[in-house]
Amino acid sequence: MTVKQLSVFVENRPGRLCAVTQALAEAGINIRAVSIADTKDFGIMRIIVNDTDKAVAALKERDFIASSANVIAVIADDKPGSMAAIMKTLYNDNISVEYMYAAFLNPEQGTACLILRVDSNDKAVTALTEAGCKLLSEEDIAKI
């Protein structure tokens, strides 16, 4: 069970984030989670939205470079040690995390949501499910 993540290439100059978010706003896209990885000259904006395909189309139409990839959205209890437990589960199965960030997604009270990009989605989904973690699906994201 994975969710789609939107990635957008943004040059490191004033106005670019404004342009990306404006394009999403005009397409009626709701942003669920966002993170930016940056270098001196450019950044990659990673976004979880309610409709990834529509978002990619809207951005491409405006000449942005956008793509989608499958990532894992895992629910963690909002208490000390829950993120460590998730990391340990992945580490035990020798799964590498390329990057991760927190999402503004709280489907239930007292939980937090992490977005994980790993080297093997299949292995991670199995490991986390077996460890009793709750993963979000595309439908879950669209509903929130």
Partner: protein
């Protein structure tokens, strides 16, 4: 009193006498090329010209042109006019793979070249009593070899420093009392800056003159170099295809460069029609080597745009003068002294991107050094959601550019359609340097 001319007979020769000398040498040279360079002979045959049609300099226009494309086609031996056993030297243009020019020299060719450089050094006030610091790069590049040879010919004590290691350059300059500096103008400016940063002033060095070439420079830069080093700065012009630096040189007037016409016939042509233009017109400079043995190029198109003038020069030389090149009739750029063609960058992009993305070359001059940036529009195929992959692409492009051009460029990946287009066509080169 220092000697004013290296070869007074030639440098101050009466115009008619010079024309007669050029005619005589041209006729002989055309025959030499016809007999020994099948490539050019074919070009002449295609134009319906034989050596019999060339009776003097007035017939020069009948000969076909040679261009860099011919040199590429003939690479490496296609334009060679002497057996390799008669050749003693090879020099080559700066760094590049796709557009390399390899030139061959017999001992007579080397002597002629060094004689031309000796005239330049003498015109800059150099004599056998001088200490000449050669800070041009040594190697295949003609800068180091040319000035080194000329310095020997004049009898200067020659310091073969090559370029780089600036603090050591200055230490030697001070300790050994160098009086003449030869390098690129941007390096001269940098040496000047470093001298002051090290806490010295021009009073601490004995330099009196500098001979600077291989890249375009302005009058402002001349003033700056002259002040920072306390010298007179002279321009020198040349290209590997004709021999190297010393094809033309500045005299004490510092206004235009005298062309060594006894070896090189200069013409100005309309770059579009190929028609010869009268003296004083602005156009493309074309050279015919009339004394070179191994690599005698006839009517070689330099692509440099300039003006020839035959007005009387206060230095007494009668050799025709060329202005500083005012631009190019092709798209070649000279960046950090290296010849760069946009097509070379396209080759790299094509290789690394599997397609030619939109790109733009941005050249500027900060202080006295060139900056070189290549902006490349990222394509969806090359995009990944990890910084690692995108940065790896950037690094690969950067490494491949160094490989092809020999100089580093800053690679900037930019968003699609962010490079401005005029009439739908992307603007490939933005040169912000004010060099003319």
């Amino acid at each position: 009193m220092s000697k004013r001319y290296w070869n007074e007979k030639i440098e101050c020769m009466d115009r008619d006498e010079m024309r007669a000398l050029q005619s005589e040498r041209l006729v002989k040279q055309v025959k030499h090329v016809w007999d020994n360079v099948p490539y050019y002979r074919k070009k002449m045959e295609e134009k319906g010209v034989t050596p019999d049609d060339i009776k003097g300099i007035e017939d020069l226009h009948k000969l076909p042109f040679l261009s860099k494309a011919d040199l590429r086609e003939g690479y490496p031996y296609g334009l060679l006019a002497k057996p390799l056993s008669e050749c003693v030297r090879i020099q080559s243009t700066s760094g590049t793979t796709g557009k390399r020019v390899v030139a061959f020299y017999t001992q007579n060719d080397v002597d002629m070249w060094e004689d031309c450089v000796a005239r330049a050094i003498t015109a800059a006030g150099g004599t056998k009593d001088d200490i000449c610091q050669v800070a041009y790069g040594y190697g295949l590049f003609t800068g180091g070899a040319g000035l080194h040879g000329g310095s020997h010919k004049v009898g200067c004590l020659t310091l073969p420093m090559s370029s780089g290691n600036t603090e050591r350059q200055i230490q030697f300059m001070i300790d050994l009392g160098a009086t003449i500096l030869c390098c690129t103008p941007s390096y001269a400016a940098y040496i000047g800056e470093t001298l002051h940063e090290m806490g010295y002033t021009p009073d601490d060095i004995k330099l009196k003159a500098g001979i600077f070439g291989a890249e375009p420079w302005t009058e402002e830069m001349r003033k700056q170099i002259e002040e920072s080093l306390g010298i007179k700065a002279y321009d020198i012009y040349g290209l590997t295809e004709t021999s190297g630096p010393g094809v033309a040189f500045e005299c004490e007037e510092q206004h235009g460069m005298h062309i060594n016409e006894d070896n090189f016939i200069a013409e100005i042509i309309d770059p579009d029609t190929g028609e010869t233009l009268p003296d004083g017109s602005k156009g493309e400079l074309v050279f015919t080597s009339i004394t070179k043995e191994a690599f005698p190029l006839l009517r070689y198109r330099t692509r440099d745009i300039c003006v020839l003038s035959r007005g009387k020069c206060s230095c007494g030389r009668t050799l025709v003068k060329m202005s500083k090149p005012m631009g190019r009739s092709d798209d070649m750029l000279i960046i950090k002294g290296v010849n760069v063609f946009p097509s070379q960058i396209e080759t790299v992009l094509l290789k690394d991107f599997n397609a030619t993305p939109n790109y733009q070359i941005v050249v500027d001059r900060v202080g006295n050094s060139d900056t070189f940036e290549i902006k490349v529009e990222l394509s969806p195929d090359m995009f990944s959601d990890t910084i690692r992959d995108v940065s790896a692409l950037e690094r690969k492009l950067s490494a491949d550019i160094v490989q092809i051009l020999g100089i580093k460029a800053k690679i900037s990946l930019v968003e699609p359609k962010s490079i401005p287009r005029s009439e739908g066509k992307a603007v490939r080169v933005i040169d912000k340097r004010k060099l003319v």
